[in-house]
C-alpha cells in the first residue's frame, strides 16, 4: 500500500514541479521584454572594438610587412615594387579562409594604416572568393607615374599622409568600401 502511495505521490510531485516551471515560462511569455533580434532588419549592437574585416589605408602604408610577419597563420600577402619612396602596388590581400581575427596585425604597424572594422557578413558561395583585396588602386597613382617618368626630384613623398589621427578617415572609408561591396553584390 505504501509503495502505491509513493508511486502516485511521485507522479504528483513530478507534475507539480513541471507546473512550477511552466509558470515561469508563462510569466516570461507575458511580462518579459522581447529579446529576439530580427537579423536582416536589425542587428545586435556591435562595439567599435569589434574584430571584423580589415581595412587598409593604402596611402599611409609603407610596405614594411610587419603585419604579415606578426600574423600567426600567414594570411596576409603583400607584393609591391619600391621606386625610392614611391610604391608601385601589386598585391595586398587577406585570406579570410585562414584569418582568425586575432588582431595581431594591428599593433605592430608603425604608421597605423591597417584597421579592423565591424563588418562580419562575409558569406559566399565561391570557394575562392574569400581572399579579399585590400587595395584601392594597383600600380602607381597617376601623379606618381608622372613624377617618375619626368624624373622629378623625389623630395616630397608621393602621397602625404593626412595629419592627425586617421580614425574618422578610416571609418568613412569603411562605409565607402561596404557601399562598394553592396553595389557589386546586388
Amino acid at each position: 500500500m505504501g509503495s502505491v502511495r509513493e508511486y502516485f505521490s511521485n507522479i504528483a510531485n513530478g507534475l507539480g514541479s513541471t507546473a512550477k516551471g511552466m509558470a515561469i515560462t508563462l510569466r516570461h511569455f507575458t511580462s518579459e521584454p522581447i529579446i529576439t533580434v530580427q537579423y536582416p532588419k536589425e542587428s545586435l549592437p556591435i562595439p567599435p572594438t569589434y574584430r571584423g574585416m580589415h581595412i587598409l589605408e593604402q596611402e599611409k602604408c609603407i610596405d614594411c610587412h610587419l603585419c604579415a610577419k606578426a600574423c600567426p597563420v600567414d594570411c596576409i600577402e603583400i607584393e609591391s615594387v619600391k621606386h625610392g619612396r614611391v610604391l608601385e602596388w601589386k598585391k595586398f590581400s587577406i585570406d579570410y579562409k585562414k584569418c582568425i581575427f586575432c588582431e595581431f596585425c594591428i599593433p605592430p604597424c608603425p604608421v597605423d594604416c591597417i584597421h579592423m572594422t565591424t563588418e562580419f557578413a562575409l558569406a559566399t558561395d565561391n570557394a575562392d572568393g574569400m581572399v579579399e583585396d585590400m587595395l584601392t588602386w594597383t600600380g602607381l597613382r597617376p601623379e606618381d607615374q608622372a613624377k617618375l617618368e619626368g624624373k622629378a626630384s623625389p623630395k616630397k613623398p608621393a602621397a602625404p599622409a593626412p595629419a592627425g589621427g586617421g580614425e574618422g578617415d578610416a571609418r568613412s572609408r569603411v562605409a565607402a568600401m561596404l557601399a562598394k561591396r553592396k553595389k557589386e553584390e546586388g
Binding site: L66, A68, K69, E77
Partner: protein
C-alpha cells in the same frame, strides 16, 4: 613542505638513483633513474607526510640528446607539489625513429594511463607494462609520431586529402588518379608562407638569434 624538504625526505628513503634537486629552471625538479621510478612514486603516494594523491601530468620532451619524461605530482591534503624527471639519453648511432622506453606508472597512479598513451601517440615514447598500450588520439593506422622534431608531414591519410591545394574527393577522375605528391623534407610545414617576409626565420624553436628589424 617545500621542494627541498621533499627531496630530503626522498633521499632519506635510501633508494638509489635519486639525483640532486635541480633549481636552475623556474620550477625545481628531481631527476630519478628509471629503475627506481615506481618505488619513488609509490613512496610519495603512500607516505603520510608527502601524501601525493594525484599524478597531475605526464609529459615527454624531445631534446637533442634524448628524451625527458616529466611527472608532475601534487598533494591535495598537504598543498605541495613536486616535479620528477626521467632522462633517457639517446644511444650513440641510433636513428631518428628510436623509441625510448620507461616503466609505466599506471599501476601506481591510474591517471597515468591516458597520459602515457598520449605521449606514445604523439611522441613515440614507450611505457613498459602499460595495461592498454595503443594510440589514443590519432587513428590506429597513423604513421609516425607528430610531435617529433623530424616528423614528416603527410599529404594524405588514406583517401582523405590533407593538403591545402588537394583535389576534392568528388572532383577526382577515376581514370586519372592524382599523382602522389613528393615526400616533403622532415619538419617542413604543410603550406609554405606566401612570401619570405611572412614567417619568422627562427620559428623552428632552437635558433636563439633574436630577430633584427629593419624599421626599428
Amino acid at each position: 613542505m617545500n621542494e627541498q624538504q621533499l627531496h630530503d625526505k626522498l633521499r632519506a628513503t635510501g633508494l638509489g638513483g635519486i639525483g640532486e634537486l635541480e633549481s636552475s629552471a623556474r620550477d625545481p625538479f628531481v631527476v630519478v633513474e628509471a629503475s627506481v621510478l615506481l618505488e619513488v612514486m609509490a613512496f610519495l603516494r603512500d607516505d603520510s607526510e608527502t601524501a601525493m594523491e594525484m599524478l597531475h601530468n605526464v609529459t615527454a620532451v624531445q631534446r637533442e640528446t634524448g628524451f625527458d619524461v616529466v611527472y608532475h605530482l601534487c598533494s591535495y591534503s598537504r598543498h605541495h607539489s613536486l616535479t620528477l624527471k626521467v632522462i633517457v639519453a639517446q644511444p650513440e648511432g641510433e636513428a631518428g625513429d628510436w623509441e625510448p622506453a620507461v616503466p609505466s606508472v599506471a599501476s601506481v597512479y591510474p591517471s597515468a594511463n591516458w597520459h602515457e598513451r598520449e605521449q606514445w601517440d604523439l611522441l613515440g615514447v614507450r611505457f613498459n607494462d602499460h595495461p592498454d598500450f595503443r594510440r589514443i588520439i590519432l587513428p590506429e593506422e597513423w604513421i609516425g609520431h607528430p610531435l617529433r622534431k623530424d616528423y614528416v608531414y603527410p599529404s594524405t591519410f588514406g583517401e582523405i586529402p590533407l593538403e591545402l591545394d588537394a583535389i576534392p574527393l568528388y572532383e577526382r577522375d577515376e581514370n586519372d588518379p592524382p599523382k602522389p605528391s613528393e615526400p616533403r623534407p622532415a619538419g617542413t610545414p604543410l603550406t609554405q608562407p606566401p612570401s619570405e617576409y611572412s614567417t619568422r626565420p627562427d620559428a623552428g624553436g632552437r635558433a636563439p638569434a633574436p630577430e633584427k628589424k629593419g624599421e626599428s
